[in-house]
Amino acid sequence: MSDRPTAQELTEAIQEFLGGEILPTVTDHRLRFRLLVAMNALGIVYRELAALPAEDDEGQRALSRRIRAGDVPPGTLDRVKADVEARLLVASPRYLERYG
């Protein structure tokens, strides 16, 4: 899947938040140490994600272009909905419970 922000970009956003906004407010020595360790761990995740090959979104681009051109054969909605559901299972799984 080609969703933005990518997992790597989200990791980067969290690093910036922790380093820029939280770290300066933490005065407790033990908490501060543990926060730095956590940020270090996040750095490992970031670099590991950076080493993965980029996802190919050409399938989604081709489908988007076809729909834009008005080429919407039967079954298109089912296919699109299944894709969205798969993305939601990553991004916000509990949201699906709202459609009983």
Binding site: P5, I14, L63, V72, L77, V84, R87, L88, A91, S92
Partner: protein, 320 residues
């Protein structure tokens, strides 16, 4: 710096109010996409100062001058809005305007949930209909700078993001194929929903956030508050998580004589979802482009999948 800021407010507010004033410490409030909001009291009077934020002004949002002019037009028309006080060309280097700071709740989740606002929720559907009827009666000549917002504008915004989102494309396709007969455009709020209104125990106190005002089919404004994301978790109440649509629609039709049909609400509810799905992507772009780095903006890029799911759900119901 803080002292300088206070001094800048002191000067600006004295200018707008036309007298020397004793002010409280200005407090920067959370939220606000392209504009800052500062709470400050002058001689005990509750004020809110909207000030330009750093960075690029959004496409398709009003300038501060125009937003103030719309607010003034609404105030004159008897719409419940904060009283506008005036424009400030230079507030510590950026433009701003000053208005009344209304008392009440604006946080959507609280409006739909708080037990003490139960009576307010019962009153809100009719009150929201009545205020919107007043907004839609504002003469367009009074705000000549407002422009239309065609569905095609959403396509442009999606293309700016340059990511493939077939669900959004399907929504746009359906909207193109099933356009209801166009109604003469009216002055529209553009973001009329729970979260952008002030509510107290008795109900509606005032309408905020006029930066998306434009000319449009009245049914579009009427339907935006139906979008599931703006029900704040109370999905069973289709009107903004606070009540049923039918009395709201009936009251609006009674006051305007527009006779908006339920099918039009369905159509524009879908359009509202498509707009918000694209909105999620453009908000995430503010983070990704470096314009405004923030985890909150970033995650919207992923949470947009919720809105895309709702688009699919609505399309299924419509028989696409």
């Amino acid at each position: 710096m803080i002292a300088d800021m206070r001094e800048a407010f002191q000067t600006a507010l004295a200018g707008v109010l036309g007298r020397e004033v004793d002010i409280s410490e200005p407090v920067l409030l959370a939220g606000g996409a392209s504009k800052e909001a500062w709470a400050v009291d002058a001689d005990g009077e509750r004020l809110l100062v909207r000030r330009a934020a750093v960075g690029v002004i959004h496409r398709h949002t009003l300038s501060l001058v125009d937003e103030l002019a719309v607010l003034e037009a609404a105030y004159e028309a008897g719409v419940k809005v904060p009283r506008p006080y005036g424009y400030v060309a230079d507030l510590a280097g950026r433009e701003a305007f000053v208005m009344e700071r209304l008392e009440g709740e604006t946080i959507g989740r609280r409006v739909v949930q708080r037990p003490e606002l139960e009576a307010a929720r019962a009153a809100l559907p009719l009150q929201l209909a009545e205020e919107l009827a007043k907004v839609h009666a504002i003469p367009a000549e009074r705000v000549p700078f407002l422009t239309g917002a065609a569905i095609e504008r959403m396509v442009e915004e999606l293309d700016d993001v340059d990511e493939p989102h077939p669900a959004i494309e399907l929504g746009l396709w359906w909207l193109r194929e099933h356009r209801p007969p166009a109604r003469p455009p009216v002055v529209s709020h553009g973001d009329y929903r729970i979260g952008n209104v002030v509510v107290d125990e008795r109900g509606l106190v005032g309408l905020l956030d006029w930066e998306f005002a434009h000319l449009d089919d009245p049914a579009r404004d009427l339907s935006f508050g139906l979008v599931r994301a703006w029900r704040f978790g109370v999905d069973g109440k289709r009107l903004g998580g606070i009540g049923d649509v039918e009395p709201y629609l009936a009251r609006y039709n009674e006051l305007t004589g527009f006779d908006v049909r339920p099918e039009e609400l369905d159509y524009w509810e879908l359009a509202g979802n498509v707009a918000w799905a694209i909105g999620c992507l453009t908000q995430a772009q503010r983070h990704l482009s470096g314009q405004d780095r923030s985890v909150e903006l970033a995650i919207l890029g992923r949470l947009g999948a919720e809105v895309e799911y709702e688009i699919c759900h609505l399309l299924e119901r419509a028989g696409a």
